[in-house]
Each structure stands twice: as structure tokens, then as C-alpha cells.
């Protein structure tokens, strides 16, 4: 089971969806060395305003911030998320509004806003 996050755009009365899941995968880093990683995965079929598919986002820890794992997207802070809810809200915000290159001096690349 996963959680579906619906985003409604009031201007043109259209919705987009982000799917949030928690997954575990086997990671093989070298022969005979494998580990299991558990993480949150954000995925959406929405495109950005330039018609490019928005990327999948993986969150391994509370300090994996939305902007290049260095800064939160909605606010200029490098603090780790305090709750899962706070993480989900910030990643959703980042999908919707996008961000500029190096926003909040995070070193991130530009991501355009979500297209509705």
C-alpha cells in the first residue's frame, strides 16, 4: 500500500497526484556484499511546466532535505526534518513549486514548477 497525495489547481481545475511509498531493496555494492536499504519514495506522473517528467525522489534519512539533500525547499534551513509529516510536506511543496538553481545556496539544479 502506498499513500496518494492529490494536488488540486484551482486556476484550471486540474489535479495531479504524487505517490508516496515505503520500500526496501537489496543493494549490491560489490561482489558478495549486499545490504538492505529502506526508504521513502516519491513518484509522480506529472510533468513540469517545461513538459519534462518530474524525477523520483528517495529519502533515506530525516536529513535528506529536498534541495540537494542540503536545504529544505519551503524554507531556507538546513535543519533535518523533525517528523515524517514535515518531510512529506516539504517534498510535496518542492514538486509543486519547483526551485531555482542553487536555491537557498543548496547547490541544487533548477526544477520547474509542476504543470497542471
Amino acid at each position: 500500500m502506498a499513500v496518494s497525495i492529490s494536488i488540486y489547481n484551482n486556476v484550471n481545475a486540474r489535479s495531479q497526484t504524487i505517490t508516496l511509498s515505503f520500500e526496501g531493496v537489496i543493494v549490491a555494492t560489490e561482489p558478495m556484499t549486499t545490504t538492505v536499504d529502506y526508504f521513502f519514495k516519491f513518484k509522480t506522473s506529472a510533468r513540469d511546466s517545461g513538459n519534462t517528467i518530474l524525477p523520483v525522489k528517495i529519502v533515506n534519512t530525516m536529513s535528506d532535505l529536498a534541495l540537494n539533500h542540503a536545504k529544505q525547499s519551503a524554507t531556507n534551513t538546513a535543519n533535518a526534518y523533525s517528523t515524517i509529516k514535515e518531510m512529506v510536506v516539504d517534498y510535496t511543496y518542492d514538486y509543486i513549486y519547483g526551485h531555482t538553481a542553487n536555491q537557498h545556496a543548496s547547490g541544487c539544479t533548477e526544477q520547474l514548477p509542476m504543470k497542471f
Binding site: 502506498a2 511509498s21 521513502f40
Partner: protein, 154 residues
């Protein structure tokens, strides 16, 4: 959802630990929503009772006696270790580990019991299914955040 299979050679049984994300409207008067992980298992404690459902809102929501997790992988492993340590088969006569026919990943670890060399293997798999959300009653007391704030469902 992540599903972890835990094999106990002593009883030749495989148990499951389930970890999944949920979105719930809080029944605490606020009407607010929350996102959290729910960790459950079909293992039993050594006294035969069931483990409760653990709800996790941050990396400090760990099992009793465990330090805060450093990552979600670390957190899940702490819950698996807790279930194994408190599970019924730790008191069984299992004594050695051998791989089973599972196609997934296996990891050996030693039992915490000083007079037993019992060990288990665990495998992991993940799957996604159709998304859904639901409304669930929520005890307002469970919203407190501390190292032992993981709460069991009634």
C-alpha cells in the same frame, strides 16, 4: 510496503515484519492529518501475546530500549532486532543457521541470548499496491514525541 521475512531454523517457520506508510486524519480534536510508518509483525512474544502495532513519526520512535535511528534502514533494523529478541523462538532450541530456499537477501546475526547461539536469517522484499487513505481513531496521547513514544494500538 516493505515486507521482511524472518526465518527461524529452530521451528522451521518464517515470520513477517511489515513496514508501510499511512496518511491519517487525527482523531484528537484537531482534524489535522499525519504521515507515519506503521510497523507490524505476525511474530509472538515469548509469552504468546502479540506485539502491538508501532507507529513511527520520526527516527526517535524506536522500540523499547533502543537508541534513536540514524536512518530509516537503521530504524527498521532496530524493530526487526527487537522482534527477534523479544520473540517466542528466542527461547526455542534453534542452534545454527543455514540458508533457506528464499530468493531474497539473507543476513545472519547472533542472538542476544548469552546461553544460546540461535540465529535467524531475514529476507526483504518490497511491493507497491494501489494507493489508499483512511480515517482512523487516534489517541491524542500517542502524539507525544520521545524515544519511547512508539505506541501500540488498542
Amino acid at each position: 510496503m516493505a515486507t521482511i521475512n524472518v526465518y527461524d531454523e529452530g521451528s522451521d517457520r518464517t515470520y513477517q515484519v511489515y513496514v508501510d506508510v499511512y496518511n491519517t486524519v487525527l482523531h484528537d480534536g484537531s482534524g489535522d492529518t499525519d504521515y507515519y510508518l506503521k510497523i507490524t509483525t505476525n511474530m509472538r512474544k515469548h509469552d504468546g501475546t502479540a506485539f502491538g502495532d508501532f507507529r513511527v513519526r520520526n527516527l526517535s520512535d524506536v522500540p523499547p530500549g533502543k537508541a534513536a535511528g540514524t536512518s530509516f534502514t537503521d530504524l527498521v533494523n532496530k524493530y526487526i532486532d527487537y522482534f527477534v529478541e523479544e520473540g517466542e523462538y528466542i527461547y526455542s532450541n534453534s542452534s545454527s543457521l543455514s540458508s533457506s530456499s528464499s530468493t531474497s537477501y539473507f543476513e545472519n546475526w547472533s542472538s542476544s541470548s548469552s546461553n544460546s547461539s540461535s540465529s535467524q536469517s531475514r529476507s526483504s522484499s518490497s511491493s507497491s499496491s494501489s494507493s489508499t487513505s483512511y480515517v482512523e481513531n487516534w489517541s491524542s496521547s500517542s502524539s507525544s514525541s520521545s524515544s519511547s513514544s512508539s505506541s501500540s494500538s488498542p
